[in-house]
Each structure stands twice: as C-alpha cells, then as structure tokens.
C-alpha cells in the first residue's frame, strides 16, 4: 500500500477539511485563520514534495499511483501555485461570507490535480478528474454574479458531458483489455482491436482536455476566467492544467503505434493554440483575454505531449513549461486582481507611470507568455519546439513559432495603454486629467506583491534554467 508516499496529497486534502470545519466555527472576522490553515497545509505539502523529489521512482497503492520526478515537480508547482492563488484570494475574499469554503474548495481541487498528475490507473484517473472538477463548479459560482452563474452552469454542463466521455473511455479500454493499470495496458492495447482502442482513448483525451481547457473542450475557460472571482480565475486556468496535462502525457506515452497518435495530439495542439490566439485578439476584458490566452498556452503545452516518448526532451520540457507557465500566468492574473475594477484594456492607461513596479510586472509576464527570452516560458517553448522537431514533427515547430507571433498581437494590445501616456504630454489639459486618472490606481497589496514576485521569478527561473533543468530531469 505504502500510503505515506501520498503524504503531500493527504496533507492538502486534510488541510482543506480543516479549513472547512474551522470555518464553520469561526466568526466572520476570524475567518483569516482558515486561510492560515490552508497556507500551512500547502507549504507543508510543498516541503514534503521537495523531500520526496530527491528520492527515487516509487509506486504506491498496488501500482496505481506513481511517485516520480514528474509527480514531484507537479506537486511542488501545484502547491506553490495554489498558495499564490490563496494570496490573491486574501485581497478578494477577506471577511466575505464564503471565505473558508472557498479555501477548502481550492485545496480539494488541488488534491484532485495532484491525483491526476500521478495516476497510473484509469480508475484513479477518473477519481482525480472528478475531484478536480467538482470543486471548480462551486468555486466559479461563488462569485454570485450573473456572469459567474452563467460560467458555473456552462462549466458544469460541459464538465458533466466530458466527464461521461472520460468514464466511457475508461469502460471501453477496460472492456477490450481487461485491465486498468498502466503497467499492463501497453501490451494489451497493442493486441486489442484498434477501433475500440481509438474510441476509448478519444473519450479519455476529451475528458482530460476539458480539465486542461484545450480545444475542443475549451468553451468554459474564457467564461470562467471572466465570470469567476480573480483568485478563482487565476487558479482554474493554472492548477488543473498541471494535473490534466501530466495525466495526458502518461496516457499518450503508453498508447500503441496502431494509430498515429503523435499527429492526432499534434493537430489538437495546433488547433488549441491557433483558436485560442485568434479568439483572444478581439477581447476587451483583460481576464477574458487571459482566458483565451490560456487556451492557446494549452496548445503549446500539448506539443511535448504529442511527442511523448519520441524525444528525450519531451517530459522535461513539459514539466519546465508547466512550471514556467504557472508562474507567469499567475503573475498576469495577479496584475488584474490587483486592479479588480479595471476590466477594460484601455483602463490600464498610465499604469506604467503611476505604478512602475506593477506596470513592469505586467509587461514582463505578458512578454513572458509570448515567449520572450530570458523568461522561463521562453526556455519551455524553445525546448518543446526543439522536442517536436527532434521527434520528426517539424511542422509543429513551425506552428509553435507562428502562433507565438500571433499571440504577440493581443498581448501588445494590453501592453500598449500601460505606457501610452507619454504621447499626449504636449496637451497640458489632457495631462492634468490623466494625472487625476493615474492617481486612482489603487492597488490591492497582496495581489501587487504576488505580481511583482511572479515577474521576478519568471525571469530568475529563465536565467537559472540550468538548475531548473536538473530538477525536471531528476538529476
């Protein structure tokens, strides 16, 4: 059994339970205690994960859960990412009626993502899917706005649909192979009828793509990013992807060569990045823009999944990209939650002068998402694009690069107003009005700090890519 191998998951889950229970007994002014509880749980889980990362590749629960470098990195990134989301929530939810419930749901969903990340059995995969997605529905609806309700409904319906597809996929694969553990699946899948294997796998991929927010199961992402609260939006566009994409990687790696799965996943990746980029172009709300941008980022993240096993760079580059994406995306969302009332790109006019640190953080994180060196996402993009060509999918490399260019269009639409105030300086009257507007840049402290920290970290991790690479390759 070796349940202790799952200690980080257990700690996060128990932390969620503790936050929930404590929240029921605490006065509203004292709900911050539950935040501390949740934070302590996440930090302990991260520490435990870091310790486990130094160990060797182990299996828990009769070979249904793998504790290897990939699981370790996912645990570390997911726990610290949720911690950052918790920091954003501190500004937004403090003393609100749903505070402790929100923290509990965040931690439950994180546990689900961690289960997905290590799953080595189709049934565990199904459990992880449910544990990740069900708390999300509640979290999105927690905003209690019209948009929030719509987004929660949309997510719930799509989640139900794709959840059924995933479970159907599990059933079909179990039916044709007689097993659900990954250790036995490859041989039996190769011997099973190709049509049934394809149908089952497509069902599984559909479910995981819903969790990751990739085409064609992405419709809920922009709505949820726009309608949910800022902290929840930052969480749901980041943490579930870690589990879902790692689970997809493990699944694709064991598929037999009876069908050309690399090309299939490669096409999904291309569709995700292209559609996400094109749709993001017209958005006016920064959060919705980021929502679409995450759809395109999933496309980039699917590139190493497509070449799973075909290039030695595939898994390390996936992990590195996931870590970099988490930091950078959380940073961009943190800028938006630091200025929660500015929901138009144009309303960022003059931020660069009024709040230089925040403005710089926004530029660094957005250019980071484009893949500008020396940020960590650049290193991720470089290694994933290289992995694709290395595995013989040169066309995917070209698409990655072209889509990076496409993405620059809309990120620049957000960057432009931040520094745009310089041009009208000759018109004195306008300048006075502008200064009045700039004075109104009241920022939420925790979000602003997290934004600056994330921007610094994204650059530091890019420059320190050597040690980071050593971590993700397990050396």
């Amino acid at each position: 059994m070796r349940p202790l191998l799952l200690l980080p998951e257990i700690v996060v889950f128990v932390g969620g339970l503790a936050a929930l229970l404590a929240g029921s007994f605490l006065a509203r002014r004292r709900q911050w205690i539950t935040r501390v509880v949740a934070g302590v749980a996440l930090v302990s889980a991260a520490v435990l994960a870091a310790i486990a990362l130094a160990g060797s590749d182990l299996m828990a629960f009769e070979g249904t859960f793998r504790v290897d470098t990939a699981t370790g990195v996912a645990r570390l990134v997911a726990c610290l990412g949720t911690l950052a989301a918790l920091g954003l929530a501190a500004d937004e939810l403090a003393d609100s009626p749903r505070e402790s419930e929100s923290y509990a749901l965040l931690l439950f969903s994180t546990t689900g993502a961690l289960v997905l990340a290590g799953a080595e059995d189709l049934l565990v995969l199904g459990a992880g899917f449910l544990l990740t997605s069900i708390p999300l529905y509640g979290l999105i609806g927690m905003a209690r706005t019209g948009r929030g309700a719509e987004a929660a409904m949309k997510t719930y319906l799509l989640g139900a649909l794709f959840g059924i597809l995933l479970l159907a996929g599990v059933t079909v694969l179990y039916g044709v192979t007689g097993t659900t553990t990954y250790a036995e699946l490859p041989d039996r899948l190769a011997a099973a009828p190709a049509g049934a294997v394809a149908a089952g796998t497509i069902g599984l991929l559909a479910g995981l793509l819903f969790e990751a927010g990739g085409v064609p199961a992405h419709f809920w992402v922009p709505d949820a990013a726009q309608g949910a609260g800022g902290a929840v939006a930052a969480f749901l566009t980041t943490i579930p992807k870690i589990g879902a994409l790692l689970a997809t990687y493990r699944l694709v790696a064991l598929l037999p060569g009876t069908l050309d799965w690399p090309v299939f996943v490669g096409v999904l990746a291309a569709a995700s990045m292209t559609l996400g980029n094109l749709a993001a172009y017209w958005q006016q709300d920064p959060r919705r823009l980021l929502g679409w941008s995450t759809v395109s980022q999933v496309g980039f993240l699917l590139v190493p999944v497509a070449v799973a096993g075909a290039s030695p760079l595939a898994l390390p580059s996936l992990l590195l990209y996931l870590a970099g994406y988490t930091v950078t995306n959380l940073g961009a969302f943190a800028v938006s939650t630091a200025l929660p009332d500015r929901r138009e790109l144009a309303s960022y006019q003059g931020l660069g002068r009024a709040r230089p640190w925040l403005g710089t953080s926004l530029v660094v994180t957005l250019l980071g998402l484009v893949g500008t060196p020396p940020t960590v996402v650049f290193v991720g993009k470089l290694t994933t694009a290289t992995a694709a060509w290395d595995a013989g999918l040169a066309w995917l490399t070209v698409l990655v690069v072209l889509n990076s260019l496409l993405s620059l269009f809309y990120y620049l639409r957000w960057i432009e107003p931040v520094y745009a105030s310089g041009r009208s300086r000759e018109e004195a009257g306008e300048e006075a009005a502008e200064e009045a507007g700039e004075a109104a840049f009241v920022v939420r402290p925790w979000s602003a700090r997290i934004a600056v920290a994330a921007a610094l970290l994204s650059v530091a991790l890019g420059i320190g890519a050597g040690p980071l690479w050593a971590v993700v390759t397990g050396r």
Binding site: L313, P373, T383, D390, L402, G466
Partner: protein
C-alpha cells in the same frame, strides 16, 4: 572582460530604473558616464586584442545555461565582432551626449538606452545561437518602448509595426536555429562547435530550408527589399537618438548575422543561395536609392538610404558565396568591404539621424520643403550635415568610400553584374546634393528664420561620429587589420 562590457550598461540601467529619486541632470550625466566607461572598456579590449586562430575567438567566456539543449552563455570576439562592439559603444555615447539637454523623462530614457546598449553589445559577442536570439529579441523589445514612449506623430502604430515585423523575423531565425540544433550531432547551439561540425552539409534540401528561415529572419532585420516596409515609419516616428541607434546598431544585427551565422554554419546552402543574395542586394541598392530620391521628408529619405547601404552589404556577402567564379582574394575583399560598410554606415547614418532630430526639435517638421537658406542661421548644422551627406554618398577620404570601394572590387570580380549597383551611388549623390541645396542654400525661407544652430552637446555628439568616419577614411589600416583576417576566414569557411 567581455561580460563586463555587456553587463555594465545593464547594471547601470537597473540602477537608473530602480532609483526614482534621481534628478534629471543626474540621470543624464549618469548615462553619459556609464557609456563613457563602457567605451573605455571597449578601447581596452581592442588594445589587448590579438587575432585568434581561424575558427576560434578571443576573450572567450563560457558558462552552461540550459544544459538540456547544450546551450551556454558563450561569448567571444573576433575581427567581425570587435568593430561592431566598438561601433555600439561609440554610437550610444554619442546618443547620451546628444540627449544631455533633453528633459523628456531622462531617467527612464537613459535606463532604456543603457539596456539597449547592453543587449546590442551582447548580441555582437554571442557565440551561442540561443544567446544570440535572446539579445536579438530583447533589442526589439527595447526599441519598441523607445519608439512607443519617446516617438512622435504615429509612434504607437509605427512601434507596433516594428515590433510585429521584426518579431516575425526573430521567430524565423529561431526556427532556423532549432533546425541547426536538430541536425547537429551531438546536438548543440554553440556556434563554434556548429562551424566545426557543419551539420547540414550533405543534406541540401533541409539545409536550404534552414538557411531560408535564417535568411528571412536576418533580411527582415537588415532590412532588404522586400522586407523593408517596417523601416521608414519606424524611423520617421522614432526620436532622433532612437533612429540613430536603430540605424547605427540594430540594423547591423541582421548583416552581422549573415557573416557570423549563415555563412560559416551553412556554407553549402549559402553557396546555393548566393546568387539570390547578390540579386536581392542589387535590387535593395537600386530600390532604396530611387525611393529615397522621391522623398520630401528628410528622415524618410535617410531611412531609405539605409536600405540602399544595407543593399551593398547583402550584395557583397552574396558575392562572397560565389565560389569558383573568380579569385578567392576577391571574395575575401567583398567580406572585408561588407564589415567596413557596417561600421561606416553606423557612424554616418547615426550622425545624419541625430542631425535630422535637430530639425524636428527646432521646427517640428522633417519636410525638406519647409526650409531654405538654412546655412545662414545655422552654419554648424550646415557644415556637419554636408560632411555627413558626402560621407554617405561615398566621397573619398571618408569611411563610406573605403567600404564601398572594397564592396565593389570584391563583388564585380566574382559577379560582374554587380556593376549595375554603381548606379545606386550616383542616385545617392544626386539626392544628397539636392537635399543640401534645398535646405541650406538660397534665400532664407520657411522655418529657417530664427532657427537655433547646433548646441554644443549636439555638435560634439555628431562631430565625434563624423570625425571617426573621416579617420577611417584617411587611416583605414588599424580597422582593416582587424577585419581582414576574419574576413579571409569567413571566405574560406564558405568555400568548404
């Protein structure tokens, strides 16, 4: 030592950006101080420079960066990069001096320019493709903010066009680099190793595609026809110092890439594409000159002469790939001419753009028709502009002549058709003389009345650049002694 040259401006930029309390005067002088110190370091590097063995670099430093893909922080210089490193230091110092009296957010501007200086120097000393790409991309980001933040008229739009266009180029470059990496065995991004390995010699199809990607990337940056359309708006709307840096330093990144990356790493593919390069070069020369002739806007005119001057370089590097068409000596002369032209164009066009900035500063326009008889109220401006114009059209005694003479000697010897490009020199001469005549001679007209002549800071900045051009024109040996061995090596490498 090289790292110090690269990171000193970057460190100064961080300090200037992070300390908001600095006054305008302090920031402006700090900028001058940092650039002067950097130039002093470059002079020390030049003094200690000994030509390295063929295929090696001087002042090498190497630290692993992304070990998974064998990319490292690898820097070093040779005869191709040293002149450009020096050029970068000189131009940025000139810009710092020129801006001493400009009170438009001097602290952030100084920080931004120091950042640009660091990344530009970094690019010229990179010996790793990813490091090269990093600096290439950051230079685009920096220049975007210079144009968007300190430009005029349609600055936001021009900056956007510049960013998107050159970003496309940089991404094409990245595809090419990944291709080189994938075909190399063992996989590496290190230029020195790749030059020794020649990963794509022997696979002409893949080599052709990889070179095509790299050429597109570099051609956008250079820019050559038909990828030049971002250049005129970017120059017109950029501030004077921004234009000087863009033309003087950033454009060189494209042409430098040809001699540093495309030719030594992909010699076989380069030889196959050499005729295309020669023709693109000739077309750029003629097109740039003719379109410049049609301009009424001073800055657009200078911008198009840049297309023309970059065309000579492209033609020369193309000619250097025509192995077997003439004496090997000629190909090496063509490369020497190309590198000399990079330095010469940087100095001259940098000076001309700074002078163009004076027109906008005093009169708010670049329209050639808005001035007349300006030599009366502004004799210093008239003198320096005339020297710059004569240098640009290739008058003997100035650096442009040394460069273009070698470009043509080398190119015509291997590809006689290059002689067509001589027409370009004629047209450039015509357009500069016409501009001089319209603006500076005749009765005072338009904005000329009450035009304030060059202030000392402006005169010193421009004068120093032109003085260097004169010095190279009269005493070219010290420069050529550095360039020639490296050019010979490149010509040999292309022949492999």
């Amino acid at each position: 030592m090289l790292s110090l040259v690269v990171f000193l401006p970057l460190a100064a930029a961080v300090v200037l950006a992070a300390v908001p309390a600095l006054g305008h005067r302090v920031a402006a002088w700090a900028w001058v101080g940092a650039t002067a110190l950097d130039l002093a370091l470059v002079v020390a590097v030049w003094a200690g420079y000994r030509t390295p063995a063929a295929g090696r670099l001087a002042y090498e430093e190497q630290v692993p960066w992304i070990p998974g893909v064998n990319s490292s922080y690898h820097v070093g210089i040779d005869g191709l990069s040293l002149p450009l490193v020096a050029l970068t230091a000189v131009i940025f110092l000139a810009c710092a001096v020129y801006s001493l009296r400009d009170d438009d957010r001097p602290r952030t501007r100084a920080a931004l320019f120091l950042f640009l200086q660091g990344v530009s120097t970094g690019l010229f000393v990179s010996a790793d493709l990813i490091l090269f790409f990093l600096f290439f991309d950051l230079s685009i980001v920096g220049m975007y903010f210079v144009i968007a933040g300190w430009g005029h008229n349609n600055a936001a739009r021009s900056a956007l066009k510049f960013f998107l266009y050159t970003f496309l180029g940089s991404l094409a470059l990245l595809v090419g680099f990944i291709g080189l990496y994938v075909y190399a065995d063992p996989h590496t991004f290190d230029m020195v190793e790749l030059a020794a390995q020649l990963p794509l010699n022997g696979s002409p199809v893949a080599g052709g595609w990889v070179l095509a990607a790299i050429i597109v990337g570099l051609a956008v940056k250079t820019p050559t026809v038909p990828f030049h359309t971002w250049l005129p708006p970017a120059h017109t709307d950029a501030p004077a110092t921004g234009s000087a840096v863009l033309a003087g330093v950033l454009l060189k990144m494209g042409t430098y890439g040809f001699v540093r990356i495309a030719m030594p790493l992909l010699p076989q593919a380069w030889r196959a594409w050499a005729w295309v390069m020669v023709i693109v070069g000739i077309v750029s020369v003629l097109y740039g000159a003719l379109v410049a002739l049609a301009q009424t806007d001073l800055k657009r005119m200078i911008a198009y002469t840049s297309v023309n001057h970059m065309g000579y370089i492209v033609m020369a590097v193309g000619a250097a790939g025509l192995v077997g068409n003439g004496p090997a000596e000629a190909r090496s002369i063509a490369v020497t001419g190309a590198v000399t032209q990079m330095v010469s164009h940087g100095l001259i066009t940098g000076a001309l753009f700074l002078l163009a900035g004076v027109f906008h500063d005093r009169a708010g326009t670049y329209d050639l028709g808005a001035f007349g008889g300006l030599a009366g109220p502004a004799p210093r401006l008239a003198t320096l502009f005339a020297v710059g114009a004569f240098a640009s059209l290739g008058l003997p005694g100035l650096s442009g002549f040394i460069a273009e003479f070698q470009v043509f000697t080398g190119s015509i010897a291997v590809a006689p058709v290059s002689a067509v490009a001589l027409v370009g020199i004629l047209v450039t001469a015509a357009l500069f003389l016409r501009a001089l005549q319209r603006v500076f001679t005749g009765p005072e007209a338009g904005h000329s009345a009450g035009f304030t002549d060059l202030r000392p800071a402006e005169a010193w900045a421009v004068g120093a650049l032109l003085l260097l051009s004169l010095l190279i024109g009269v005493l070219p040996r010290p420069l050529l002694d550095v360039i020639e061995p490296a050019a010979r090596t490149v010509a040999e490498l292309v022949g492999r």
